[in-house]
Amino acid sequence: MSRAKDLYTTEAVLAMAPDAASAKNGSDLANSRKWQNLGAAENCLWGECQGSGSKPYQTRIDLGGPAFKCSCPSRKFPCKHGLALLLIAIKADELFNVGEPPDWVSEWLAARGERAVKKKEKEEKPKSEEELQKQEASKEKRKQGRIDNVESGIDELVTFMKDVLRQGTAQIQNKPISYFQERAARLIDAQAPGLANRVIDLSATAGGDWQGNMLAGLGQLFLICKAFEQSKSNTVPELLKQDIYGAIGFNQSQEELLKNEENRLDGLFCLLGQTVTLEDRLRVQRSYFYHIESGNLALVLDFAHGISPFARVMVPGSFYQACLVYFKSSTPLRALIKDIGSRLEDFHFDWQLKGETVESARHFLSRLLSENPFIDSRPIIFSRCRVFHLNHNWWLRDKEDNHLPIKTGALDLWPLVAFSGGGEIDLLADFDGQTAVPILAAHKGEILRLEAKKTSL
């Protein structure tokens, strides 16, 4: 008997699949006839699956992570064999022979352990004073060079924005998309990718109130540009400076953040859910962590190119003992995982998420904007709210009977109606002050991740 059944559910395993095809193929392969030498030890599983190659693929799983390894040539992670093996263990663990893992499994487990130890040692190894000074000087030089670059980019951007206003936005619709793309490219050259992305957003000259959106976008850009100008003075608080630099596209050193003790949040977290979006061939995974004690949210971003795997496989709806470190900001949200334990089993949680009403969310956002005016929206939990459809519009009704329009875009909200049955749910949504864009819903320990409408199977 393996522990897989106690640790994971079929739904949780399918949620780990990197894409829908892998989930389907994994389910198809979860058939014991296609496997041989199925085995299990306390914290691992293994099996051999005959694929198109001459030798069967050797698949192994460290249940603690879970971590997967397979000898198949797939670059997806976890591959369909890993998913299938875990699915079989959940469905029919009696098929697994309990015993000592074979060499190809134990060697992998040992190597994993060694790597973890080496990583820890490297992180803890002290650097000499001279090395540190040299490193610091070089970093400062690089930073100053970039600031100079950004300044020149901003000068050109302000000239561009003034030009737009002088001509009038009525002229903009006739401009080719390259009008904005060239400006964005220039900002990329000036090492200000945050501004470049905002300029690209301006180019959406179609749909309802495109002129209003463009003008609001120009206002925000101008605000950032002016704030950057002001940030050179010592009167600007350090955290606000970080927000200004963040809006421009400066990254904070993750290594330093992890060393920093100020912004850490320790304790028990629930991984409410994950979304994956494709941004310029880069897959971005957003993991929403809920701190059980404080009710604070933390957003952890992971990146992967093409179909390469994300650094960690975590199970939405699960609980973890972890230490997260927030990025420096006057309104902290984005965080890094400093340390995270295995998924906690049998953790009892009453699922009374600390959340907001429409009014309190507006006050919260108002407070955030007064500290950091560069944020566009914020993920917020609307607790005990109801979602309904009326005359082709979607609405959120909070526990105080106040309403907020829901922006669906490509999202399909009918699964949410089916999930809630018209009853109260906790809804995690991106809130921009005017509308909510649902991300996931939670009800009595069950979590529903909202997805784009499927047009076909």
């Binding site: 009326l390 609405w395 089916a418 049955g421």
Partner: protein
């Protein structure tokens, strides 16, 4: 930022800014008159301009936009009036289901099935839904919207989903009108006669036929009077569509309309269809007159007699149906008349002639064997479509069917009438027929039946096979795979998955033997392997609900 939340003043100020920016700052950059905190703040920016803080008008305008864009985020998302209006909307909630959701293993099978959109896939999804209802489970609630979308044009699956959708499905149907209409019965409960009448009068072709069908169930008299009034004014296509709606819900009360209006139509297509429907109403005068003509012309005593002299005069009213219809191109006029008259007759007529065995013997011995036999095949096949089924008719139809299967099973595939008769057989009778012929199909020599016919016999039925029958057929396939020339032809390879989808799940015991038998059988390996996969999937489906 208090005061900035005033939705109206923010909106008005923003609108003024927008207008300036659309025109361009060269033409307009002044602020509107009015009150509101945002306007005051913007005016303050203008004062700064006068102090030289902003280098140009555009700088000032950008600063205004920056401030106003923040105010936009903080204004109330909807007006108080709209909020009040929305508060009046009463929200219903789904009742708690007393049934549990289908187990994860079953849901995993459903996931797998949903990836197959072929007919076989749909059949298995239907099986999944039936098993779910049978085991007293409901479908996982989050999947309902996806299934409803998927089953949009598959009413049989919607009906099955209804049985296992539980309270959550009922709730979803009440929330989404598009889905609500998927279930006809639910639609009837809410759609008024007036709405349906209007839809029939003004809707698209599809809407009109749907509305008429629903109206006939809701208020037959209104439906009848509606088509009475409009029928002659309709196009040929619409008149045929109306009669096809009648065919779906044919009843004795349709007789008058069919007789008076449809049968008197100027177009042959309409008259033919009307005649056919009237013949299915055995108690109609139209059908009874046909039976009385047959009684006068056919005598089954000690000797079979058929009198066709001057028959054309008697059948003037049936000319379109009986004389002009020629489904068998090789038959002469009189043979055609005999075939069509028998095919349209009330099956009770055969009871008045003689005992069924004798009747079949006479037919087989007659020089008119072909038209009589094919007419009888068709009559028995069409009986299932009649709304006037009675115990007495059931008995004679069943008895005659057995007699024909006993003596004329070899003739079933000779004509379309025989195939129609084959299609109308119950699953039990089909299995009996196939089993009785199995030795001849697998044998060789003079007594052997056409070797590949068997699969043609089976393809016409959609019902699930019994356990013993499934096992016997699987064993037959295994045996045939070891033969030099297996009795598995094109029909088998093309439909192997469909056959497997009807086999009893316990046939899965023979899956390893099927796989083993298919090794090195290049031509059949793939189809037998697919068959084995589907059988195994059906077994998994059954097990998943235990």
């Amino acid at each position: 930022m208090n005061g900035i939340q005033d939705k109206k003043s923010v909106q008005e100020t923003w609108q003024a800014l927008k207008t300036s920016c659309i025109l361009g700052t060269r033409q307009s950059h002044s602020l509107p008159a009015g009150s509101g905190l945002l306007l005051k703040k913007l005016a303050f920016l203008e004062e700064e301009q006068n102090k030289g803080l902003w280098q140009s008008t555009e700088d000032l305008m950008l600063a205004r936009l920056a401030l106003a864009s923040l105010a936009l985020k903080l204004k109330a998302p909807i007006s108080d009036a709209l909020n009040q209006e929305l508060k009046q909307v009463s929200l219903s909630a789904a009742k708690e289901d007393d049934r549990a959701e289908a187990p994860p293993r079953a849901l995993s099978v459903l996931n797998q099935l949903l990836t197959d959109t072929s007919n076989v896939g749909q059949k298995l999804i239907g099986d999944w839904l039936s098993l779910c209802a049978e085991h007293n489970y409901v479908v996982s609630r989050q999947r309902l919207p996806h299934l409803l979308e998927l089953f949009r044009d598959k009413p049989s699956l919607v009906a099955k989903l209804k049985a296992c959708g539980g309270e959550r499905l009922r709730f979803l149907l009440s929330q989404n009108q598009d889905w609500h209409k998927l279930l006809e019965n639910e639609a009837l409960a809410t759609e008024s006669i007036e709405e349906l009448t209007a839809l029939f009068q003004e809707g698209t072709a599809k809407e009109r036929t749907d509305a008429l069908l629903r109206l006939r169930k809701l208020d037959f008299t209104q439906a009848e009077s509606l088509i009475e009034k409009c029928f002659v004014k309709e196009t040929l296509e619409s008149r045929v569509s109306i009669l096809l709606v009648l065919e779906k819900s044919l009843c004795q009360a349709d007789q008058i309309f069919l007789q008076n209006k449809a049968l008197a139509d100027k177009r042959k297509e309409v008259r033919e269809l009307a005649g056919l429907l009237l013949c299915r109403l055995y108690s109609s005068s139209y059908s009874q007159k046909l039976v009385s003509i047959l009684r006068q012309r056919i005598k089954f005593g000690e000797k079979f007699e058929l009198d066709l002299n001057d028959i054309e005069k008697d059948i003037v009213d049936y000319e379109d149906l009986v004389v002009k219809q020629n489904t068998m191109g090789t038959l002469g006029t009189k043979a055609r008349i005999v075939l069509n008259m028998l095919a349209l007759a009330d099956p009770l007529i055969f009871k008045t002639f003689c005992e069924p065995e004798t009747l079949v013997q006479h037919i087989n011995a007659s020089e008119w064997r072909e038209p009589l036999l094919y007419g009888l095949f068709q009559c028995l096949a069409d009986y299932r479509k009649s709304p006037e089924k009675t115990q007495e008719r059931d008995q004679i139809v069943s008895y005659l069917t057995d007699c024909l299967l006993e003596s004329n099973a070899d003739n079933l595939r000779e004509s379309s009438h025989g195939i129609n008769f084959l299609k109308s057989l119950s699953q039990e009778k089909t299995e009996k027929l196939v089993l009785s012929r199995l030795p001849r199909w697998s044998g060789s020599g003079g007594n052997a039946a056409p070797r590949l016919d068997m699969w043609n016999y089976l393809i016409h039925h959609d019902d699930d096979w019994s356990k013993d029958f499934s096992r016997t057929i699987a064993q037959f396939i295994i045996k045939e795979l070891s033969e030099k020339v297996p009795a598995l032809g094109y029909e088998f390879t093309m439909n192997a998955k469909q056959f497997a989808a009807r086999m009893h799940p316990d046939t899965a015991e023979l899956v390893p033997a099927l796989h083993a038998a298919a090794i090195d059988k290049d031509y059949f390996a793939q189809s037998v392997s697919q068959m084995a996969e589907i059988i195994a999937l059906r077994k998994e489906l059954q097990e998943a609900f235990k």
